[in-house]
Point group: C2
Chain length 263, copies 2
């Protein structure tokens, strides 16, 4: 085993308190990771969703690993606090519940959950104040039975049976994403208003009236027996659109400009 080269320390800026409560998130354990770049990629995947508790089991190239650090880049905080262990058993010793992520069928009896189900379960366990570990295997081989027997349950991502090719960082990403989706604050559907606000109903009404008058004068509601229906449809159109005040002003301006041109 190569002698690890000590990497320069990464400066950590504490910017987000919610991500520092170590007891309130699962620990992601990379078992026998091979390439440093993949460890760094996994760190990036985790930190995209605010997870930062990582452990390594018997990394091939030792630790620290400059390639991992370089790849992690802005996610270096994950590597700064990484725990390194010789065996899977040691790495999960303090966990109250262990998941093993694997795509392949095994000759082992085991409970198998989707990421969604597993994360919901993990959330419940962590809410009780207990610790959860999630095992990820080396890219080529995946986890071995000697690792999986130490897990309470398996997480299997429901991939295309004809093409299951998630790499380590992608697997970590999906689990981290699910964690944040299920435990993060609900994100309300948002209308981003760039320098304006939603139009009030009276503003829409005024626009509708103006359009109605202008189009009537232009002979738009023709033939006459269709006019009431056309006018109703148009009035309905305005209210169905998520108009901002800015939109209303633009539409007023359009009507005005078009009328001028006709005149």
């Amino acid at each position: 085993m190569r002698r690890p080269i000590r990497a320069p320390p990464v400066i950590v800026t504490d910017t987000s308190a919610v991500y520092h409560d170590c007891m309130s998130e699962p620990t992601f354990v990379l078992v026998r990771p091979q390439m440093g770049e993949n460890i760094g990629g996994a760190a990036r995947a985790m930190w995209n969703f605010g997870l930062s508790r990582m452990r390594l089991v018997d990394p091939r190239d030792g630790w620290p690993n400059p390639r991992a650090t370089a790849m992690a880049s802005g996610a270096g905080r994950v590597l700064d606090n990484v725990g390194v262990f010789g065996t899977t058993a040691e790495a999960v010793a303090d966990a109250h519940y262990v998941f093993a992520t694997t795509a392949r069928d095994r000759d082992l009896t085991k409970q198998v959950m989707t990421p969604e189900r597993a994360v919901a379960h993990a959330r419940d366990i962590i809410a009780e104040g207990q610790r959860v570990a999630v095992l990820f295997g080396p890219e080529r081989a995946g986890l071995e039975n000697k690792d999986i027997v130490r897990a309470n349950a398996i997480i299997s991502v429901p991939v295309n049976p004809d093409f299951a090719s998630l790499n380590l960082a992608q697997c970590v990403l999906l689990l981290a994403y699910e964690w944040r989706r299920l435990t993060g604050e609900a994100v309300p559907e948002e209308l981003v208003l760039a320098g304006t606000r939603r139009a009030e109903a009276r503003e829409v009404e005024k626009l509708a009236e103006r359009a109605d008058v202008a189009l009537d004068e232009a002979g738009f509601f023709f033939p006459e027996h269709k006019a009431p229906h056309m006018r109703q449809n148009l009035r309905n159109l305005w209210s169905r659109m998520p108009l901002t005040r800015s939109d209303v002003q633009i539409l007023h301006g359009m009507i005005k400009a078009l009328r001028r041109r006709r005149g």
Copy 2:
């Protein structure tokens, strides 16, 4: 623009009918993709979750692209059927609803949804028989306003505000994953039984009785005033465990072997 080199045809094996109903999935549109490897990576990400409708807008290196094909590898079917367009407007012309994926705040008024919300909406639209397109921008720059104005809504992945570093394939992966999660068949939580079955209650009862007798004889239920409680806890333990028939047989064997040793 470099003249595209025609790549050798990729042989497609039709292995899964559910993934061939082109009307029943969204189209993923890569806008001005730069590196062929990233196009191939996006194809892999999609095909992991059974999505295969891809379009390209003005790919930097033209099309076909051998690097894309090489990276796509087993997901080559996605690239075989890719549509290539000169502009975003052309690429989405036949869509009934267009999403733009972007992480950055923009100076545009727009509805913003999480991937989950967006996919639920996409599912509804597709269920009506209408087409959905999802735009992904080039890795460094992301989508430009000229692309986003052509979308009905924005999809924003709720990443860590201090570290948003999803690459193109990861973004595509998350959307593909959400599509499959929300529209795929519900995956029942599964107990994989490797050559056995769940134990019947009578088999567990028999094991419990045997253990009770063996432990009683060994003086385990001591002191006497604690015995009923201990026996009840032990009886409860057996039923709380998800024992298979195989487990029960093993435990019977253990009890027998330990008694022999004592005798």
